[in-house]
Every structure is written in C-alpha cells, then in structure tokens.
C-alpha cells in the first residue's frame, strides 16, 4: 500500500513533474544561453516531443550556427534516456549522417544515462562534444540544410 508508494516517490520522480520542471527551465533560459529547449507543441499533454537548439561553440567549425534538434522523452523517461535527433544537418561523430539520429552509444550521457540527467544535460553535452578535437574541425555542410525525415 502506502509504504510501497513512498519509496517510489522518493526515488523516482513522476515523469510529468520532471518534464514540467524542464519545460519551465527551458522557458526561463536557465544556463548560459547556448542551448535552448521547449515543447514542440505547446498543447502536447504528454510532454513527449521536444525541440532543442544548440548554438555552435566558437572556434569550431560549428561556430555561430544554430542546430535544431528533436528530443523525444518516452514513457519511461527519466529512467530511460530520451531519443535525440538532429534536424539541422551536421557532421559529427555519433550522429548518423543521413538521418541525424544521435547514436546513444556514442554519446556518454546517453550511454550512461542517469535519471538525474535532463534534456538540458543532453544538449549541453552535445555542444561540448562539438568542441572536442575529433569534432571541431570536421567539415560541415552548408548552413541551413536539414535532414529529410
């Protein structure tokens, strides 16, 4: 009965609570202003489909570009990581060249997901990876191209 509920509430935050919190954070611009996220559709009651945005870090080939992403938080979120997909074309390790899908195994926060992570963390991590030596100098497609799915 109740005793069973208690531990769940303690250790596992209900999905919607979390997502609503994240929604608010996204609107308040928490962070350094280099990533942004929000609901793809404001009327999405399930809080599943999100859009994210990453501003390319300076001194890299991603500099000054704005990358649009789609983040999908499934029913098991935040216990399970969200699925992330780039909408803006990008050349980066761990991102599928033709679909823009982010390979969960190549991105550390996705591979070793913890329920304390959030959409913000994912976006920030992707941005950090843009600055890594293996990615920062990769030639990029012309600005403005998107994946067709």
């Amino acid at each position: 009965g109740v005793s069973l509920l208690l531990p769940r509430l303690e250790f596992k935050v209900p999905r919607n609570f979390r997502l609503l919190e994240e929604l608010e954070e996204g609107q308040k611009g928490v962070g350094d202003g280099t990533v942004s996220w929000g609901l793809e559709d404001d009327e999405d009651m399930t809080l599943t489909r999100w859009t994210g945005m990453i501003i390319g870090p300076p001194r890299t080939n991603y500099e000054n570009r704005i990358y649009s992403l789609k983040v999908e938080c499934g029913p098991k979120y935040p216990e399970a990581p969200p699925s992330v997909r780039f909408v803006t074309k990008i050349n980066m390790n761990g991102i599928n060249n033709s679909s823009g899908m982010v390979d969960a195994r190549s991105i550390p926060v996705l591979a070793k997901w913890q329920n304390s992570y959030s959409i913000k963390v994912v976006l920030q991590e992707l941005r950090r990876l843009m600055m890594s030596k293996e990615n920062m100098k990769l030639p990029q497609p012309p600005e403005g191209q998107t994946y067709n799915n």
Partner: protein, 624 residues
C-alpha cells in the same frame, strides 16, 4: 485547468496561453512584459508589449545590441522565433528568457527553420546605412571607379557579396594583399591621371565626410591637403606600392625600436591619440576606408600617418600616429608600430604617403612632440642610441630616395617657421646635405658613437670659440656648416652647430634623427639643431637634387673651406648684425624678464633666432 499560466506559476507555463488562445478572448490592453534576452556573452532585459510580434521585439533588440534585425536569431524553448510570429504565440511571458544569436553579416543566414536572410538581404540592409558613403567613396576611390567598370567581372574574383560597398572593401583588401594587383590598378591610365591631379585628389578627399571631420579637428590636415607639392608627392608614393609597403615595414621596425626610448613612447602615444585615432576611426567607418583619401591626408584607412621619411606604408590600417606627428625622432615609427600593432594588411592603407611629411611638420608643433624632442635632445646618449639603430639607417636610406620629401619635411619644420631666413639658407644647402647623407662614410660616422662624440667636441669647440670671439666667425654660411655638421653631428643631439655662425639651423626633427637635432629647446649645450638639414633623412635624399656635381666629399670640402674662411675672418655675407636681426627677439626676451642683453644676444645667435631655444640656453647656462 484553463488557467492562464502566468509566467511565474510553477507547473503550467506554456499550457496556459495555448489554452487561453482557444478559449478566452485576449485581454484588451497589452500588458508590458519583461523578457530577458540572453546571448552567450551577455544578458539584457527588455520591456515590450505582450502582444508584440517577433519582428517588433527584434527591432527593440537590435538597438540595444547594435545589430541589424536581420542578424538576430531568437530562440525560445528550443524553437526559432519567426518574425511574423508573436511572443504570445510562443508562450513568452513576463520573466521568461529568450536566447539570442547574432549572426555575423557575411554569413548567409540559414537555419533549419529559417532559410531566409540570404547574404544578399544582409548585404542590402547593411549597405543601406552606408549608401551615403558609397557614392563618395566611389568617387574618391579609384578602386571604386575600377569596380564600377568591372562590376560584372568582379564576381569572377570570387567576391561573395553583392553589396557594392562590401565589394569595394573586399577589393581593397585583396589589393592590399596583392601588390601585383595594386600595380595593375596603378598602371591604369585613368587611375594615374586621376592621381596626378592634385586638385582632383583634394576635392575627392574633401568630399569624404570623415575627412571633413578630421580636418575640423586637425586644421593641419587641411593645410596638408592644400599644399599641391605635398599632394603630388603623396600621389607619387601612392603610385608605387612596393615603396609604400617598404615604407610601412620600415616604419614598423623603427617604431618598435622607438618604443624603448624613455618617455618617447608616451609622447608618441599622445600624438597617436590626438591625431591618428580620429583618422583611423574615420577611415574605418567607411567600409574600406578610402585608400586615396588617405593619399592626401596620409591616413585613410587608419594608416594614417606614416612618416613619409620612412616611406614605409603599411597597407593595413595602420593606427600609427600621423607621420608628421611621429616624426620626432622615430617617435613616429615607434608609434606606428606600437599603435598598429598588427599592422596587417588588412585593407586600406593605401594612403599615408607623402602627406606624412606635412603631417610631420604640423605635428611637430604639437606640445607632445615638442616635449619629446626636448627629451631627446637633452639626452645625447639617447640620440646616439637611436642613431645607431639599424632602422635609422634604413630610414635614412629611404629618405634618400625621396629628397623632395625630405626637403619638404625639413622646411616645414616648425623650427624653421620661426626663422624664414634659415629656410632660405637651408634650401640651397639641401642638395648638398642630401648627397652627403648618402655618403656611406657619413652614415657610418653617424652611427659611430665615438665619431659623433668627436664631432660634438668640434662643435662645442666652435661654439666656445664663437662665444669667446664672436667677431671671429661672423658669416659662416649656416647651411653648409650646419649641413655637414648636422649630418654628422646633428643626430648626436644637442651639438652646437657652428655656434654663432650665422643663424644656427635648428635641427629639424625629421624622422628619427629629427629629435636629435635639436631643436631649440635642447638641453645644455643649447646648440640648436646643428644642421637641421641633417635631417639626415633629408640629406640622404636622392642625389638627383644635388647641385654639387662633385662626389661626396664635395660638401665636406666646401664645409672645410668655409670654416677656414670664417676662422680667418673672411666673410660670408648675408649676415646682418645679429643685434639687428634679433631685435624683435631681444625685445621679447626683455619682456619676459631676461634682462641680460648680452647673454640674450648670444643665446639668440646660438639658436639662430629661435626664442624658445634661446630661453632654454639662457636658463640652462648656469651649469654649463
């Protein structure tokens, strides 16, 4: 749960407006909401009506962030805000934060959701504010003319921008970076004819509004522009890109050396801020700066002032102090190098040629310059150090290539202005000086400290002789003596020129050697610039000007002859009684409180009528 999610309400921020839109009518009056706009670098709060459009919001932002609205990309909750959207549509309420990315102009704005803002648009909007300057710059910019004619072909150059002014600036940049291109353009007869018409150039330059501002601030510049000789020289130099580049390079070198001179750097910096900066700013305001505007004014694209004496011209915007200003002994060069720092050829810099000479003259009269000169003259060691610097030599060499320039600079020196007689006397001596400076022996003597010291001693001896027995050396032609000595000794600094022999030519602080000479307010020995002409720079001028057909030893021989004559009491006419000559100055000195007429007279004689220098002498005469 159809409540309006007012921003601070915790759990339902964005649902509210969505729900509200469907159900209730929007509130009647637009509420002002505060929205924070955050860039990776900064954060600003904006108060806008709740129902404003993204476009309106961008306009407010563009003012605060000083960008075009087209450059702004607003992101909220992971979505890019399109201009035609409204803030409410995206759920932007009071207290929320919107992310901003400011795109740089040259990039085509392409984002996943906003393919708009092509480069063309950007260029167009960006060029609007510049449209005023474009016609002018086109006018005054031969490149502009060229590009007008060859606009079609320009795209083949790989210029991505369609904006005319941007094209021009890009062209200039490319030109600056490519001497061959410069040469080609210069050889274009149309360009040449334009350049060779000083009046036209002046008109063009004056038509540039920034130049006009500059001129208002620095009347010397207008004086410079109005001098056809200088304009012509400037144009000639501008025509020779290799020379220009070399000048600039030398100048940089010289300037960096100058930096180390105590006190010099500050004076240079002062000069720079007074003169260079406005010019640099003016030049940079225009897209590329008007390369030929600077030709006359010697500082268009920020190069501003290259001391003509060095003939170095950085093709890059060179925030060096105007050449004239820096003249005072390498100050200019130093300032230049210091100032421009990078002095990279980025665009502009075509200008700054000869005009520098004029600038030099005008700048000399600035107090900063004077003090610098003073410092330098007071320290002969300093001068020696400067002199022996390799850059000095190169400067002298470059000056030697342009005797006209050197002559101009010298004659324009404020030291001379107080003494037209001196000028007259100097003029004929110029060729001789120039030639002498070219004498490698002279140069090596000048850079040999011991030789300099010996020369100094000779001069001092002469001066002593002059003071002790003024009648003995009445009319030594100052020109020659000064010239020869000047070249050799001048740089050494406060060396007494042939003392009371004629009007002592104040040392013209031309170029690096300038300050050494001394200029009047020189220290103790108060020998006013021996041989201004030393203008070592001047003297190194081309032999073409030299009237003396003899070899380098010519002037030397002449000098010695004259010295002997003077010592023997022979006359060189031309020198009226010093008392008569200096009547006016004596009166002034009297009025100032120097009542010892004899001492005044001697001081005036020693300084050639330069009151300031004479005062220095009088004041400093106690210890010596």
């Amino acid at each position: 749960m159809a409540e309006n999610g007012e921003s601070s309400g915790p759990p339902r921020p964005s649902r509210g407006p969505a729900a509200a839109q469907g159900s209730a009518a929007a509130p009647a009056e637009p509420k002002i909401i505060k929205v924070t706009v955050k860039t990776p670098k900064e954060k600003e709060e904006f108060a806008v009506p709740e129902n404003s459009s993204v476009q309106q919001f961008k306009e407010a932002i563009s003012k605060r962030f000083k960008s075009q609205t087209d450059q702004l990309v607003l992101i909220f909750a992971g979505k890019i805000l399109k201009d035609q959207d409204t803030l409410i549509q995206h759920g932007i309420h009071d207290g929320l934060t919107v992310h901003l990315v400011i795109k740089s102009q040259n990039r085509p704005q392409g984002q996943s959701t906003q393919p708009s803002n092509a480069a063309g648009t950007n260029a167009t909007s960006a060029s609007t504010p510049r449209s005023n300057s474009t016609p002018i710059s086109t006018n005054s910019n031969p490149f502009g003319l060229g590009s007008l004619g060859g606009l079609a072909g320009l795209s083949s150059l790989g210029l991505s921008s369609t904006n005319f002014s941007e094209l021009q600036s890009q062209m200039q940049q490319q030109l600056m970076a490519s001497p061959e291109m410069m040469i080609q353009i210069m050889e274009n007869p149309f360009v040449q004819s334009m350049l060779s018409n000083p009046d036209l150039m002046r008109q063009l330059i004056m038509a540039n509004p920034q130049m006009q501002q500059l001129i208002q601030r620095n009347p010397e510049i207008s004086h410079l522009l109005n001098n056809p000789d200088i304009m012509r020289q400037t144009l000639e130099i501008a025509r020779n890109p290799a020379m220009m580049q070399e000048m600039m390079r030398n100048q940089d070198l010289a300037l960096s050396n100058l930096e180390s001179i105590p006190g010099g750097y500050n004076a240079l910096r002062r000069m720079y801020t007074d003169i260079q900066e406005p010019m640099l700013n003016a030049a940079q305001e225009q897209f590329g700066g008007n390369p030929f505007a600077s030709v006359g004014s010697s500082s268009s694209s920020g190069e501003g002032t290259q001391p003509s004496r060095t003939e170095n011209r950085d093709p890059l915007p060179n925030p060096w102090a105007p050449p004239p200003a820096t003249q005072s002994s390498a100050t200019t060069s130093t300032t230049t190098s210091t100032g421009s720092g990078s002095g990279n050829s980025s665009s502009n810099a075509t200008g700054n040629t000869v005009a520098a000479a004029n600038y030099v003259a005008s700048i000399f009269s600035t107090p900063g310059m004077q003090s610098l000169l003073q410092q330098i003259t007071e320290n002969p060691q300093l001068i020696q150090n400067m002199l022996s610097a390799p850059y000095m030599r190169s400067m002298m060499q470059s000056l030697s290539q342009n005797p006209d320039l050197a002559a101009q600079m010298m004659l324009n020196s404020p030291l001379f202005t107080a003494n037209p007689q001196l000028q007259e006397q100097m003029r004929p001596q110029l060729p001789a000086f120039l030639q002498q400076m070219q004498n490698p022996d002279t140069l090596s003597a000048m850079s040999n400290p011991r030789a300099m010291q010996a020369l100094m001693q000779i001069q001092q001896g002469l001066q002593t002789l002059a003071t002790e027995a003024p009648g003995l050396i009445p009319s030594f032609t100052p020109g020659v003596g000064v010239g020869v000595l000047g070249t050799a000794i001048g740089p050494v600094g406060p060396v007494t020129p042939l003392g009371p022999i004629g009007p002592i030519v104040p040392f013209t602080p031309i170029g690096p050697i300038g300050p050494i000479g001394p200029t009047g307010p020189a220290g103790p020995p108060g020998s006013t610039g021996s041989g201004g002409p030393t203008g070592p720079t001047v003297s190194s001028a081309a032999p073409s000007e030299t009237t003396s057909p003899t070899s380098e030893s010519g002037p030397n021989q002449q000098f010695i002859q004259q010295m002997v004559q003077a010592l023997a009491g022979a006359n060189a006419p031309q020198l009226p009684n010093p008392e008569v000559r200096f009547q006016q100055q004596l009166e002034q000195l009297n009025a100032m409180g120097f009542l010892n007429r004899e001492a005044n007279l001697q001081a005036l004689i020693a300084t050639g009528g330069d009151i300031n220098a004479a005062i220095e002498r009088l004041l400093g005469s106690q210890p010596s």
